[in-house]
Symmetry: D2
Subunit: 279 residues, 4 copies
């Protein structure tokens, strides 16, 4: 198979107001015959350069109504146009440009990059198979400074970790979910709703939070809340890359450190992941 990454910016205007989307598109093709590998016969090969042109032309003609719709458009184009394509997958990722505001007033053509979680989606299709759409968020860094512990774990002669009932929970989240039959979804609206669910499940109620007995349980809470609130989601995968923090021992510096100064632990670096679907 072959893969190609193209980065570009799509600009459109309504009156004097500008709208901008900058995306990175990665198209992934598998042909019906591997003859270009085995025989060096290029007659069915669609060059990277052509794939780039197609993506740019589709962006020009259709715009980018939503990342998901754009990914679907690309898949459809390749399946419809090239009978030698057996499988196509399109990944689209957004550069998080947000409209600039001055004293609360939105600016008509200025933007600031705010990477607090990157939105992406995927559309994939085998010839004669259904078109499947995924969406997700990545590089979302979150921290809870209390209401987190880790106790009652398995112990043997290699265990040196003490039990803790009040630690920092910090990590980088990756979430990816699949939609069932894609009818007339408002992908932008659903994505925002899911992002809110993730934050809510991670943090708990604003006035008191909710105790997390492990990174694993927090992963599960996120999945359960999304599945319960957003009916369009069929399966949800969550990966949480953990950053551990140790309370600095200041005894031999003559001080008591009551979880006031902590250092991140670079290694071991852990992550936990789970995929959950509906029955």
């Amino acid at each position: 198979y072959g893969k190609n990454t193209i980065k570009f910016l799509r600009l459109h205007t309504e009156g004097k107001k500008h709208f901008v989307k900058e995306v990175e598109v990665c198209a992934h093709l598998r042909l019906t015959s591997p003859q270009e590998y085995l025989e060096g016969n290029n007659s069915l090969v669609i060059p990277t350069d052509t794939i780039k042109n197609i993506v740019l032309v589709l962006a020009k003609k259709n715009g980018i109504p939503s990342l998901e719709q754009f990914a679907i458009d690309i898949c459809n184009h390749f399946m419809t146009t090239f009978c030698q394509v057996a499988y196509v997958k399109t990944y689209v990722q957004e550069v998080p440009w947000q409209r600039l505001h001055e004293d609360g007033v939105p600016h008509i053509h200025s933007f600031i990059c705010v990477p607090d979680g990157i939105r992406f989606c995927e559309a994939e299709q085998c010839r004669n198979g259904p078109l499947i759409v995924f969406a997700g968020i990545k590089d979302l860094k979150l921290m809870k400074t209390t209401q987190s512990g880790f106790e009652g774990f398995y112990k043997n002669e290699h265990t040196t970790l003490p039990e803790r009932h009040d630690r920092i929970l910090c990590g980088e989240l990756f979430c990816k979910w699949s939609y069932g039959e894609c009818k007339d979804f408002d992908f932008d609206c659903i994505w925002k709703k899911i992002r809110e669910c993730i934050l809510e499940a991670f943090a708990g109620p604003p006035d008191c939070g909710e105790y997390s007995p492990s990174y694993q349980k927090t992963v599960n809470c996120i999945q359960m809340l999304v599945l319960s609130r957003v009916s369009q989601v069929q399966v949800i995968e969550v990966v949480l890359n953990n950053t551990f923090y140790n309370v600095v021992d200041m005894k031999n510096l003559g001080l008591t450190n009551d979880k006031e100064v902590l250092v991140p632990v670079e290694a071991p670096y852990g992550s936990c992941a789970c995929t959950l679907g509906r029955k």
Copy 2:
């Protein structure tokens, strides 16, 4: 000289509400004698490990009232405690944790990382010299989709660039300014005000923007606005790393691309920089 980087988190609570600052501190020392280099005599050398302990102890004792105050505290400690130190510079950079909000309600102990410009500061002092404080913002990515051009530049036989009166202006900003005599400044408040000046000067009025004839002129506008609005700033340096975008030529694809689809130009990659002070 020697340099050391320490990363840690300072947590403090008021009632049930948590406040968090995660910083990276880099301390830079020069000793009065280079004997450890020339003779391998370590008797005056302050180990990296000791510097780390000092920074953590100061954070524990004083907290981090502001990045600037913390940098000043560290400088003062080294100058006061170690007579073998001839020069000290402290750089402090913040991990941009922001309090999480659920439906507009602030969460008491949950945070999200929002890297839309990183705040940093520097304090430096030579023995018997004044303590000088700098502050700044870096990695601030901004874009204007119109009201920018580049015309009337120098031309000769190596010129191939066409004149443009409506292009994308996009770049990553680095700003660093120095304060004069540091009395009782509200460093947090001043920093926020300067950030707003930068955005305003970059973008112009929200309803129409302001035409930029070059990256250089935009750099200058930022400097002029900060100097005019913020009296505590003595000198301001601005570096703008440019990202150029080319309108994709779609003629041989049979289409007219009216600044709708653009691709970032990876090379040549430019930057312009200027330092401006008061008379």
Copy 3:
């Protein structure tokens, strides 16, 4: 499942001669029950910290005879010791320290880091299943300045790429292969032999090279040569991330550029991949 990364250095000496291996180990566990996710019951969970201790203890007791043997040892330990482990995968990657030489004389305890392709391996096992071992090389950057072209590809209205019979072929290689039944393999020796095969298949004979009609065909040549020369390899996957170079058009600068000055094309960025096994 959970994943953990640990980086460490294993030193051993023979007489006055030092030997060093610095590795990054990533252990990947799946337990028989997901109760820690669903119920927050940690009683079967093996903490990251314990996993780190086990890896370090194994390194201390057994050393690292080869990356592959070390990965096998870790898998065996987890399967034998913890009945709650349903699946274990161990990834081991080497920091490419090479002994320093002075005028051809090897130094007894000094090393230089030479990252011309990174060696890695993987061992994985399901409970009651066979132990499978993979090895590989990654981040291997290669270039041919001639004997490469791309012609006869599929063309339609979106094609703008010209045919080329003499271009630069440049890319970053990733190769991963699996061994069949792992008996008493000399993993170090086999790995070196495969690396030589890769270079030979990429470059062709030293005095004339061999024409490559596409990146895809070069990928296939590498696979075929490895499979034909190294009987222990059962399946081989090759991914080639392409860097394209364009001959700079200097016509409007009054010069003829006969493939003398070329610039790398950042986007579109392509890659091709293929997995090939024995019949």
Copy 4:
């Protein structure tokens, strides 16, 4: 001032043998008047695009005899051609392509990237001033597994570091030196000689090494050896970014770890630097 980065490849052939240089050039200009900043008057500005063209045309016409000569050529061109240029600095860095060998036989057109220290140089000139040439090596990672300690350092109540007489010395070296009057230097030959001096001074004699009482002293040894052996070097700057390794304490795992298993210490991360010239 303005800065521009251009990356390209220069290919030349002698008979059937190919020679390749891939470089990154960064040109840095300051004009006699800051009118483009203050007034938005672009009439003296040399666009990034023109600078790119000039660098490529010089590479096409002159080739890249050595990095240093190429940097000198660029400086000369800008000073001679543009009277509005007050200052020019050119930085040139090499992608470390090495000719591929098969069984010791050099390949006529295939190369492998071997980044064991990156070569770079700088040429700078003020109008009416001398042309100054610097050269250097960066990203050179070295390790000594013994013959290194750190003892007799300054101690006070914040000291927790134990004295050590047998530790790992590991770091990433940056060296930059200036040449005096640049006559007819063989820059390639001198650079190779200096690289050998650096390795020799770092490691000591191959059969026994040489004890290093500190990172600082090792930095000085490198400088002294280069200055004593290479008469063309006037001033030499060395920066050593230290990676510390801790012997893992395995007492509560029931084992004695005799400097066999060590882990890199991520923070505090230190560096020491010194600039030394001739009297």
